[in-house]
């Protein structure tokens, strides 16, 4: 408990706080694997991951490792990203479409952060990037992806 004479450390509010329902996703990210949920009944993958299928209302879901293959749906180039990344300067904020179907917000790294380099529908591959004291999901151009 904080009190007089103690130093209080304010946690970075942007460091994701997992919940019991999303913990397997974050355990996967820490292990550099993209684990998300799909419905056992209708077979649809969905994001954010969770215990309830938003397509058919089933609660019969399972975790699986997604391929990490994706395409770039749309994006902006944010001029003032957070300072907790391992690179500086403008940074893409993107809607990425996973090969398994779901779209999610992420960032495309490993290429110039310019309209010329960030081509819509370009093939992407999941990559795992330090953010503050944790690791988060980003994507990089598939042709330059480290195997």
């Amino acid at each position: 408990m904080g009190g007089l004479g103690t130093v209080s450390v304010v946690a970075n509010p942007f460091v994701p706080v997992p919940t019991p329902e999303t913990q397997p996703y974050w355990d996967g990210i820490a292990d550099r694997r993209l684990r998300i949920t799909r419905c056992v009944d209708c077979a649809d993958a969905f994001f954010p991951p969770g215990p309830f299928c938003p397509h058919c209302s089933s609660q019969n879901i399972e975790w699986f490792e997604a391929s990490g293959d994706a395409t770039l749906y749309s994006y902006v180039i944010h001029q003032r990203p957070l300072k907790n990344w391992d690179t500086e300067g403008p940074r893409s904020v993107a809607i990425v479409e996973l090969a398994e179907g779901p779209r999610l917000v992420s960032s495309v790294v490993g290429c110039d952060q310019t309209p010329e380099a960030l081509r819509l529908d370009m093939a992407l591959k999941a990559t795992f990037v330090p953010f503050d004291e944790t690791t988060v999901l980003c994507f990089e151009p598939a042709e330059g992806a480290k195997r």
Binding site: F14, V17, Y75, Q79, L82, V93, V105, V136
Partner: protein
């Protein structure tokens, strides 16, 4: 319920908007609520229903000395107060209460929302999966569909800049607008880059303001000092998570906009040609484009040219965002109340940049980064 069975009989902003230092969101709310009561010639004792957002509703009612028998605390982002008006009408229609006060205040600029609650808390969907990538910056999340739209429909950065220019023309006539100097497309394109392709002049202001609206039955509405603003119809819809724009199913043709607009137009019994005045919540320059298309005023892909050809500027055939909008008038963070209040002023005939002969006015607002929207249809006369 028929179109016009309920009406707005009191409406006001806080005394000051823009930069109001040393006043919290609650202070702005209380000031606006008091002004709306005065506008309607009422006191707290006359109110038996209350709504608010980003505060506990009981903290608001107790400070106003209102002891309501109906309350609503719906929070869906910036258009929460539009949803609350719709909910209030349903409650009035059900007989749960007789006179509802809808309250809003937000110190978006000065005291930074001290004492407010809001979305994006630890462990929320947006906090885990969205906010860190964008530094929680609204332009970097809300702006996400634009580049796709540019490729699909050929939208240019010049066209994107034409909306802020048209709205500034309205703001030049409005002494309460934060930005009143005329601007040009070149000036907009020369303003600093925020999140490509959005530049600063394509983004809303950051302001302090409060607002409040009082609604009751049309049968009582003629007994108030100000002309009633009848509510002909309303609509609403939810789509993505509050901070999670990737959840919009068809980003270039969002279904929730169509759902909301069709519900409102159908309930009101109006068509697009009937609309004399339009408000579309402009947090960013692309929002009115998506709104004009989603509501069906133009076909998908045609809204940017509709704006750049001058249809929404003063003298145009569909006056839009006539207070100057969020980009020139004021934008607190949750602009829906201010958006509705301009509709009310226009329908009453007391706006700063008054549009002539308004028979039907439409107001459309957003919540989150396309997590919600609401559409309202207002009129100065009750349909017979």
């Amino acid at each position: 319920m028929r179109p016009g069975d309920f009406a707005i009989v009191g409406a006001a902003e806080s005394d000051e908007i823009g930069t109001v230092p040393d006043t919290t969101s609650m202070g702005l709310l209380l000031n606006a609520a008091g002004n709306a009561l005065e506008d309607a010639g009422l006191t707290a004792a006359d109110i038996d229903g209350i709504t608010t957002g980003y505060f506990e509703v009981s903290d608001v009612s107790r400070q106003l000395g209102i002891f309501p028998k109906w309350a609503d605390n719906t929070v869906v982002g910036g258009c929460s107060w539009m949803f609350q008006l719709r909910n209030a009408i349903a409650a009035l229609n059900a007989g749960y209460c007789e006179t509802v006060l809808i309250t809003y205040g937000e110190s978006g600029k000065s005291t930074r929302r001290l004492g407010q609650s809001g979305g994006g808390g630890k462990g929320s969907m947006g906090q885990q999966f969205d906010m860190l990538y964008a530094a929680a910056a609204p332009p970097a999340l809300f702006g996400l569909p634009i580049v796709r739209y540019m490729r699909e429909y050929g939208l240019t950065e010049e066209q994107l800049a034409s909306g802020p220019v048209a709205q500034r023309e309205w703001a030049t006539m409005n002494p309460r607008a934060t930005l009143q100097e005329p601007t040009t497309i070149q000036e907009v394109l020369d303003s600093p880059m925020i999140a490509w392709p959005l530049r600063r002049a394509m983004c809303c202001l950051v302001s302090d303001a409060g607002g409040a609206i009082i609604v009751t039955s049309a049968d009582r509405a003629k007994d108030f000092p100000k002309p009633p603003v009848y509510v002909l119809g309303s609509g609403g819809g939810l789509e993505a998570g509050i901070m999670s724009p990737a959840g919009v199913r068809e980003p270039l043709r969002p279904e929730f906009i169509r759902t909301s607009g069709e519900a409102a137009f159908s309930a009101a019994g109006i068509s697009h040609d009937d609309v004399d005045h339009l408000m579309i919540y402009d947090a960013f320059a692309h929002n009115p484009i998506f709104g004009l298309e989603g509501l069906g005023f133009v076909d998908y892909g045609d809204a940017a040219s509709f704006i750049s050809e001058g249809n929404t500027r003063p003298g145009g055939r569909l006056p839009m965002n006539t207070n100057g909008g969020g980009m020139s008038y004021a934008h607190t963070g949750a602009y829906g109340m201010l958006c509705m209040l301009e509709s009310v002023r226009q329908v009453r005939g007391e706006a700063a940049a008054q549009v002539d002969d308004i028979d039907v006015a439409v107001c459309h607002g957003w919540g989150g980064f396309w997590s919600a929207c609401s559409t309202l249809v207002f009129a100065p006369e009750r349909p017979s």
